[in-house]
Symmetry: C2
Subunit: 404 residues, 2 copies
Amino acid sequence: MQSLPGFRDFYPEECAFRDGIIAKWCEVARRYGFVRYDAPPLEPLELYTQKSGDEIVGQLYHFVDKGGRDVALRPEMTPSLTRMVGGRYRDYRKPMKWFSVPQVFRYERMQRGRLREHFQWNCDIIGEESLRGEVELLALLIDGLRVFGLGDEDVVVRLSDRIFWTDFLKERGVGEDRWYEFFQAIDKSEREGEEKTRKQLGVLADDVIKVLNEGAESARLDEVEAGLARRGMAQYVKRDFRIVRGLAYYTGVVFEVFDRKGEYRAIAGGGRYDDLFAKQGNEAVPVLGFGMGDVVLGEILKDRGWKPNDADITVDVFVFMVNEGEERWGDHAVRILRDAGIKTDLVFKPTKMAKQYELAEERGARWGLCLKGDKVEVKDLKSREVKQMADVEAVVAWVKSNLG
Amino acid sequence: MQSLPGFRDFYPEECAFRDGIIAKWCEVARRYGFVRYDAPPLEPLELYTQKSGDEIVGQLYHFVDKGGRDVALRPEMTPSLTRMVGGRYRDYRKPMKWFSVPQVFRYERMQRGRLREHFQWNCDIIGEESLRGEVELLALLIDGLRVFGLGDEDVVVRLSDRIFWTDFLKERGVGEDRWYEFFQAIDKSEREGEEKTRKQLGVLADDVIKVLNEGAESARLDEVEAGLARRGMAQYVKRDFRIVRGLAYYTGVVFEVFDRKGEYRAIAGGGRYDDLFAKQGNEAVPVLGFGMGDVVLGEILKDRGWKPNDADITVDVFVFMVNEGEERWGDHAVRILRDAGIKTDLVFKPTKMAKQYELAEERGARWGLCLKGDKVEVKDLKSREVKQMADVEAVVAWVKSNLG
């Protein structure tokens, strides 16, 4: 029997890779003073249709539960976040800086970089109106790439401004009922080519294409870029008005992250969405955030040979048993070592030494321990250097002083 | 709008508590040389009915997906584990020591200590036939309690032996078709009282009740207990033949963990289940494991005032802005501090100092930083002690030498 199509099994080596990514995400978020939250992976279906309309249902894992409730596996985290914050907005000092690493689910056609589940780093700043929020959030996003060794020669944050475009539409008297269609056309312009985009844009085509190709003034983007320059990150950002984020709810600065060579799908995306709380029936709350998935990022990191921290998946010491009847000593040794917080593995009974060495190597052990008369022998499994010590307690002291 | 009944929102303080538990679980598992794996939260429904029969369907969140597949949210991790290992058993050196922390789901009547989802620490040793496996697994389980400060005066591992009982039944000529019913009667004997249990047991009642009350010989349990004594853990274990684990698939030593006072539901449970792989159509593989949930454990820890590690939810430094126009300096300061790996938060613009102090306190900052002429002032936010330093780089060095 197999797992479902589009769902991943994480064998230890793959789990370590995934956990290594998540650990870095958490580390960077905490470095920026973000605190972690979580929400259920199963939510009322209405939470998603309320935000995104009924069309989203076609992409959801949804069903009726045994209590007759319409429920869905979360396709994204934002609706759960706004639900949670909406109910308790007044309890927290603003700005709130929250992050989460949910697994999210969509029933989609599978392609490279797109499965039916992924883990998504979600970071949001809630309760900050000024563009200082954008600077902080984008700095976090960029550090969330730098922490994996991705430099400005590898990745780029394409930065845009929805208000520029909504002003553009208002000046030209385009009714709000046609904005969604307009943003869809721009969103797809890169894939579909100029001719098709021109057709969709009609009389607006010339003006729009000019902006897409030549850029435009935006005091908001000037301010954000200046802030990022002060954080030493200007070189990661490129103004690009083609980025509008298809979803209708963005209200300000928006952005997407790509690899510079354009070989992969978007690595991350986000922006400001000040209207969503009000749309959910709560008081209006300024909010901005981004999501970064583990699938596209993971592909890039794999191609670059990135490795998670070995210390998370290896032991420090491996206890060997050379002669019959050493189980008693083995139990004693692992007890003393583990009680001291030292990661320790052991064979369960005396067996061929070659087999024990293989196991110790697979576990990534740095030192091997065995009983030698009434002494303890410690072997450095790389250098093969051997030391004799009086007892396991002496080994503990020695290992602790030699662990990074 | 609310989350679904039986599902938890994790606001930051609750998420820190949950993550604190999970971090301890991972730490202990790694100390024992276990490696982490994971599997999809959504699996083919058949994976569960194959193991547990159709009766389990009544407790599952299950549905038909858009591809016409019968699928279910995982109610437990073991079927996914055996599916994964079954396919690649020969690829790994034995014994395999694997752990996971899945969120699992059951549509059940909600009670204290029982929701419709929980996080479950799953640890399994695969490929070890001898009782040394039991010693190692139970030692891990006990250290998984000790790591939260739970001593042998707080918790007890009730240890039992399914082989004792199956031998007992064979000796008395009870056919295998009646074993399930027999184990159910013993499983429920504590709750239902002696009279009802006697009725269910019929002619076996006298012999069984004697064992339940007075215990019995078991060379297997002797060996496990001796091993645990050598690990310094004998005092955590109590032999108790009432523990049989209702599920039909256990084949050897079984156990459950309870608080000594009996105020809560079981904290953990497990045992050996050597037949499950074969039942799933794989080659026979010796395997034993346990599961520990976060809900009952969390209740006990909350009642005892246990707290997660503060360092995971607080920042080290908070950057204040006293005068108008200090945003530029603030951006500079957080950049230098964060680039050095120091967890740093800041206000987004100059505001009332009282408000800034409140925010810094809420974030748990240890030091406050502000610009003072061309110098930097560092304030210890607890002792209120103040130091002047030449620049932010000097602060980095000082903070690093003062962080535990």
